[in-house]
């Protein structure tokens, strides 16, 4: 690849991810392979058991999506169709076919139904995730679900998974989460040394690479990026908020960064910055720490109260000094599509311009997408020019 899509030196990490996927498919080392869909599934347990594991979050090709649609109504999002289509024995994705066991916490209705369809292709354990994140009973219940999850994983590997193993993994993953937070922190600079596409690739690595491999590669890159010199450019700063931005679903960010030249500086979605905002407790009962930690993480819109999600979103936009927000949700998304007005109104009320985009994995609407995003950036640039003008007038007269 000579024409890298990355601005930072991410090709070695990209290569590690590709190699890991090949090893996963080829069953190198003969370890059992586990997959999961959602950022509410603690990989700490999978790693403690010595499994090979990955989050399954690829955006399906049109063929895979339509394969998935055979099992659903059309009003399922393209992500849930992608998951089903990729597991389907006809067509499908060899990476998904290599999975020995699927774990999924019940998030939205579409993904729950997807998991129930996928059960016919691969052994699947569907676990419960409480919605009321602030209730003490939710925490106790979620802890008991995590214990079921641990027992299920132990059965898969044929040995016990001890408390101290889990505690060690919590500490290890905290370290990784902190490092990803540090990377994102660099994006608060007026001229971020890494693009939104770069950060999405780092997150992709989090979901495919073993944490030990990740730490070695990422720490080196972080040191390098932290020393990057500011060349003085001040790109327009955007936050992306909304539904999952699946592995391969890059057309919006590519359009923003590579065609238009603006920057995504932070993501309020579960495949960007959001899952790394929180650090888990490292002492005491590790299962209570997982239950609390995953419920306390920056919440998905499927959780209640929705105000927590709205507060996080507006807070993040302010923290990163964004010029505007693009709120993008998958068509038919029951979480982010249905709560879009709450997000749009709250962000607008906080003084940030927002562009709403409903999206899917087709490619036919790229022209319209481009017009919308370009026009939005023209609006933001106009506002920035006005601010520059006002400031310089104040400077002259004041």
């Amino acid at each position: 690849m000579t024409n890298s899509v990355f601005s930072a030196d991410l090709l070695p990490i990209h290569a590690l991810i590709e190699a890991e996927q090949q090893a996963f498919i080829a069953d190198e080392g003969g370890r059992k392979r586990a997959g999961y869909f959602c950022a509410y599934t603690p990989p700490e347990i999978l790693n403690a058991a010595g499994l090979r594991h990955a989050r399954l979050f690829k955006a399906g090709s049109p063929e895979i999506v339509s394969q998935g649609e055979r099992y659903t109504q059309s009003v399922f999002c393209d992500f849930s169709k992608s998951c089903i289509g990729a597991f389907d024995k006809e067509g499908g994705d060899p990476f998904y076919h290599a999975v020995d066991k699927l774990y999924t916490f019940h998030t939205c209705a579409s993904m729950k139904r997807a998991a129930e369809v996928i059960e016919q292709f691969v052994p699947t354990t569907l676990l419960n995730l409480p919605r009321l994140r602030n209730e003490a009973a939710s925490r106790d219940f979620f802890r008991s679900e995590i214990l079921h999850y641990r027992d299920d994983v132990a059965e898969l590997v044929g040995r016990a998974v001890t408390d101290s193993e889990v505690s060690a993994q919590i500490a290890l993953y905290n370290k990784v989460r902190r490092l990803l937070r540090d990377f994102s922190e660099l994006r608060k600079r007026p001229n971020p040394p890494l693009t939104g596409l770069d950060f999405l690739e780092l997150v992709r690595g989090f979901y495919y690479l073993p944490p030990a491999t990740l730490l070695t590669a990422y720490e080196k890159l972080y040191q390098k990026l932290a020393r990057t010199h500011d060349d003085g450019s001040r790109p327009i700063r955007l936050m992306i908020s909304g539904s999952i931005m699946a592995d391969g679903d890059r057309r919006l960010v590519e359009l923003i960064e590579r065609e238009i030249g603006a920057r995504v500086v932070v993501e309020d979605h579960c495949t960007g910055y959001r899952p790394f905002a929180h650090t888990l407790r490292e002492d005491g009962d590790p299962f209570a720490a997982l239950a609390d930690g995953y419920l306390d993480q920056a919440p998905c819109a499927r959780m209640k109260p929705l105000d927590d999600s709205l507060d996080f979103s507006t807070g993040l936009a302010e923290e990163y000094g964004v010029d505007g927000v693009i709120y993008v949700y998958l068509k038919f998304c029951a979480c982010y599509g249905v709560s879009k007005l709450e997000f749009l109104d709250r962000l607008t009320a906080s003084g940030v311009p927002v562009l709403e985009i409903s999206s899917d994995y087709s490619v036919s609407d790229i022209g319209q997408l481009k017009t919308r995003v370009e026009a939005f950036l023209e609006v933001l640039q106009g506002q920035r020019d006005d601010r520059i003008e006002t400031n310089s007038k104040e400077h002259v007269h004041g």
Binding site: S233, L344, E378, V379, D385
Partner: protein, 315 residues
């Protein structure tokens, strides 16, 4: 045409210092506007397969009409979905989206413009404009779907055996507009077919009118839904090719409960005019920069080179 004939004798703020051109290369038709310090020239041709050829023909026509030569043109701005495919070696060229251009074009003709509905061949948009600057404050564009666009009306005209430009007039003769509930073109089309197939009034002019009116109302409902976030603050202005359809105008005014402000020119040219206005501004900025030399770059261009691509795509 003299600008003073259109907007009166007061000085016209958007007037350029030198001849400039705006192109709006749409999905169905392409529009060109040439502005000189005191005149405006417009031209329209169907969009061809090759956007550059279409733009070249528009330019040739405009130059002929204005009795100018190619080298007299100081700046070109392109908009519309074909904007990206244009390139000029000899004339400075920029692209601006049609959303910004429709706002600038409507604002240039009427500075009280606050809300724009633009319906073109494949898109419809609602735009909220800052009357102080002509800048876009907020906009909503239709989904990838032909409901509420010119394409939908084209299909309906074919099914009714009418010329497209008669469809609106015929719809105004309706005695009882047919109920077409579907928001989807394909289903609306089947609804039309079943309405037509009811038979006994097949040859009846009122049936045609009623179905045509139903089509306009179905389409207008779709467009009205775009106004949700943008609002309907007056002055309300209708731009784009469909602005010439009196049936659509009537249906929208009925549903919104407000009147469009009459436009001084054919509003199919609003986008191209806005593009020409932007060309005038770019020309002025370039001239100012040249005069000031490298020692004192103009304040408006304070943005650094690396930032510029965020807005200005130099071909």
């Amino acid at each position: 045409m003299k600008i003073s004939d259109i907007i009166g004798s007061d000085p016209w703020k958007p007037a350029p210092a030198a001849p400039v051109v705006g192109f709006d290369i749409g999905s169905r038709g392409s529009k060109g506007v040439l502005l000189t310090p005191d005149s405006i020239y417009t031209t329209f041709i169907p969009t061809g397969l090759y956007m550059q050829e279409t733009a070249d023909e528009l330019l040739a026509r405009l130059l002929k009409e204005a009795k100018l030569r190619r080298r007299d043109i100081a700046y070109v701005v392109g908009t519309g979905y074909g904007r990206i495919s244009l390139a000029y070696k000899d004339i400075p060229y920029q692209v601006v989206t049609e959303i910004t251009c429709h706002a600038s074009g409507a604002h240039a003709l009427n500075p009280r413009t606050r809300t724009i509905i633009d319906i073109g061949g494949q898109d419809s948009k609602a735009i909220k404009v800052d009357p102080a600057t002509g800048r876009v404050l907020e906009f909503v564009m239709n989904d990838k779907c032909a409901a509420g666009t010119g394409r939908f009306l084209e299909k309906a005209a074919v099914l009714l055996g009418l010329e497209l430009d008669k469809l609106g007039d015929v719809s105004l003769q309706a005695t009882e507009p047919a109920v077409i509930s579907s928001q989807c073109v394909v289903f609306a089309e089947s609804e039309m077919i079943s309405l037509r197939a009811r038979g006994e009034r097949h040859k009846d002019g009122a049936a045609h009118a009623n179905i045509a009116a139903g089509i306009h109302f179905a389409s207008a409902r779709r467009v009205k839904s775009l106004l949700g976030r943008v609002g309907t603050e007056p002055d309300l202005v209708f731009t784009g090719g469909v602005a010439n359809n009196p049936g659509m105008r009537h249906a929208l005014e009925t549903l919104i409960g407000a009147r469009f402000v009459p436009a001084p020119i054919d509003m199919i040219y609003a986008g191209a005019l806005g593009a020409a206005v932007h060309a005038g501004r770019h020309q002025a900025a370039a001239a100012a920069a040249k005069q000031a030399g490298s020692a004192a770059p103009p304040r408006r261009r304070a943005a650094t080179a690396a930032e510029k691509p965020a807005l200005a795509h130099t071909a």
